[in-house]
């Protein structure tokens, strides 16, 4: 039972990260490989504020602000000049930014992993399995943020402008939408979600290191693609699914092959439905 709940909480962490990927891909049509490392920066922001002053809430706030500014800065410096260039060039720059963030973190904090505990939460018993309060908190926080995001996208004016930009950037520009502003907002929201993801991540795994963002980044990207890249609910489903499978695999004797099973699942889903579970079928007009 608790493997399920742990799986769901890990899944909601992946979902939060995947949301960042899907939004940036859906609207700015580019793969932000550095998204995983924004989480690492968020966790280091929490680590520094916790060691300076002990208030968890202040730390979370600082993390969100730092990540959002970082997201916008990356977009302005690394991706805006490449707006017209081929998507592959943008992909390589994103990889460059990702290595840059890891290098800087390693220089400042050294590459040893540092323990970070935000709030010590107890646990409670359900049947014979104990469930950690932090998993429940992660689930709840994840759910709330996803609901807020979907509401924001569908209800508010900027949200609809985002959908317009994702449908057809050229037409959106003609309709007087300032595309650059919208893309910066997308990166800002994506990075804020990454900050939230880093908080939930630290609930689960109380330690941070420079390469923290690499593996979760790839797994969240896989989740976003499973769910259908570009669709917000898709990212949530993909993330949760991946989290549960990872946790279930780990408790079975198959656990050395967990990564192989996860990525195997991705290939199977994509071959059955090439654009992911909720992905839109984009047919090239002949």
């Amino acid at each position: 039972m608790s493997t399920l709940i742990d799986g769901l909480s890990l899944g909601s962490v992946y979902a939060l990260i995947a949301l960042g990927y899907t939004m940036v891909y859906g609207i700015a049509k580019m793969l932000n490989f550095a998204h995983g490392d924004i989480i690492m920066v968020g966790s280091y922001a929490i680590f520094t504020t916790m060691s300076l002053c002990g208030f968890p809430l202040v730390a979370i706030l600082v993390a969100v602000v730092v990540c959002t500014l970082l997201g916008i800065a990356i977009e302005k410096v690394a991706y805006k000049p490449l707006r017209g260039a081929s998507p592959l060039a943008v992909l390589i720059t994103a990889i460059g930014v990702s290595y840059l963030l890891q290098g800087i973190a390693q220089l400042i904090y050294g590459s040893t992993s540092k323990p970070v505990t935000i709030i010590n939460m107890g646990n409670f018993q359900i049947g014979n399995s104990t469930v950690r309060v932090s998993s429940i908190v992660t689930l709840v926080v994840g759910a709330i943020l996803m609901v807020i995001l979907t509401l924001f996208i569908n209800m508010t004016k900027t949200g609809r402008a985002m959908i317009a930009v994702s449908e057809d950037r050229g037409a959106a520009e003609l309709m007087g939408i300032n595309v650059n502003k919208i893309i910066s907002i997308t990166f800002a929201i994506g990075s804020a979600l990454a900050a939230a993801a880093s908080v939930c991540y630290l609930f689960q795994i109380p330690s941070t290191m420079p390469t923290l963002g690499a593996m979760p980044g790839i797994k969240a990207f896989t989740a976003a693609v499973i769910g259908g890249i570009g669709s917000i609910p898709g990212a949530v489903i993909g993330g949760v699914l991946l989290g549960v499978i990872e946790n279930v695999c780990k408790s079975t004797p198959l656990s050395p092959f967990t990564t192989a099973i996860e990525f195997g699942l991705l290939i199977v889903i994509l071959l059955v439905k090439p654009t992911g579970i909720l992905g839109k079928k984009r047919r090239e007009k002949v």
Binding site: S2, T3, D6, L10, M50, S51, G54, Q106, G110, S111, T112, S113, P115, T117, N120, M121, G122, N123, Q125, S129, T130, R132, S134, S135, Q204, I205, P206, S207, M209, T211, M215, E246, N247, V248, K250, S251, S255, P256, T258, T259
Partner: protein
């Protein structure tokens, strides 16, 4: 017209190439150390990447030892030079690091930090008969396959056997979590499992690997009601498992090996300073940071003064590896700075494998058999 021009140009090119090659042919097996002004001790270790915390600790320990030796006037007037190349624990970077060091005049080395990299380092060192005293590569085959290999820390097998005997004696429900992607962890676990079967004791084993070494909820959940969990892993993952055990309400004893040293600062709350983990923690280790033994105390104080960090077992091993080489060279009173690596290797090996030669370092007293395996008196540290 164009054809003739191309032909002249290509002939000229070949001529130039021929002249260049004749001028620059160099001999092969030459002693790169002939113009050394100091003894050169080399090493490779992971300074970036996931295993970098172990590489950096060994590097700090070794640098501290070199600083102290040079401060005391070096070896009859001649000083020591030390350098560690970053190998990210991969075989190819270890190989290129070793070549760079060897051609810069390395005469002796403390090998590589991780077992995988040390295998690559050792096989290249064997070709040049260069001695290496690895501080932490504990896989048995790194030393046993060749004659120029020595080691400071315990070998995997004897740690596994020792842990099995201790656990089998005191506890009934036994759980194990080990890392399938780490050669150290697997080596200790295999010896442990063999010994436990010999003693007729059963245990349940759970695994993780380098890609999933952060979230241990599934593993801890499965071993929740064991009285002891044996963890042949490094302290970073051990700290996470300890915290997970607390949040899962499991209060089994956490039994570790020499990789556990350093877990203390992983589980102490930075502000309040007291431990966040209530479980009893025991681990086999040759090095205890707060032991009262004078050599250990002087090392710990010097390390804290130098890096204002508490030294972990890796730092102690690095420190001892350099001192072991220094003591052996002093006992054999080597004084030729430009001695070739293989000559120095034979001298130091002869000295180290003498039954009378005992080295007292931060990690306790050590003697070496002729295979290069250390024999140490183990202590079991306990807290909580």
């Amino acid at each position: 017209m164009k054809k003739t021009l191309a032909r002249i140009f290509s002939v000229a090119l070949v001529l130039v190439m021929a002249v260049a090659t004749l001028a620059s042919c160099g001999g092969s097996a030459k002693n790169y150390a002939e113009n050394n002004t100091e003894y050169f001790i080399g090493a490779t270790g992971p300074l970036t990447g996931d295993a970098s915390s172990y590489g950096i600790s060994v590097n700090n320990g070794a640098k501290l030892a070199i600083k102290e030796i040079n401060a005391k006037g070096g070896l009859n007037g001649k000083f020591f030079k030390y350098e560690m190349k970053d190998d990210q624990a991969t075989a190819s970077l270890t190989a290129s690091g070793y070549d760079a060091l060897y051609e810069a005049g390395m005469q002796i080395s403390i090998g590589a930090v991780t077992s995988g990299a040390c295998e690559s380092f050792a096989s290249k060192a064997e070709e040049n008969n260069l001695l290496f005293m690895t501080p932490s590569a504990s896989t048995a085959s790194v030393i046993s396959d060749r004659s120029n290999g020595f080691r400071i820390c315990f070998g995997d097998p004897d740690q596994g056997v020792l842990a099995a005997r201790n656990i089998a004696a005191k506890y009934t429900k036994v759980g194990v979590i080990y890392d399938t992607s780490s050669d150290y962890s697997k080596g200790v676990y295999d010896a442990f499992a063999a010994e436990m079967n010999k003693l007729g004791k059963s245990f349940t084993a759970k695994t993780f690997d380098a890609e999933n070494n952060k979230d241990f909820s599934a593993q801890v959940e499965a071993l929740k009601d064991c009285d002891v969990i044996f963890l042949p892993i490094y302290y970073t993952e051990a700290g996470l498992i300890a915290k997970m055990a607390v949040s899962k309400g499991c209060n089994a004893v956490l039994f570790g090996c020499d990789g556990f040293d350093g877990i203390k600062d992983q589980i102490t709350n930075k502000e309040t300073g007291e431990l966040e983990v209530s479980n009893k923690i025991m681990y086999i280790t040759p090095f205890d940071a707060n032991s009262t033994d004078p050599t250990v105390k002087s090392f710990v104080d010097a390390y804290k003064a130098e890096y204002n960090l508490l030294p972990d077992q890796f730092a102690a091993d690095g420190y001892d590896a350099v001192y072991a080489i220094y003591n052996a060279m002093k006992a054999a009173n080597v004084d030729n700075v430009t001695i070739s690596p293989s000559e120095l290797c034979d001298i130091v090996r002869a000295k180290l494998t003498e039954s009378t030669f005992v080295f007292k370092g931060a990690t306790g007293e050590v003697t070496w058999n002729e295979k290069g395996e250390p024999t140490k008196v183990p202590q079991i540290v306990e807290f909580n």
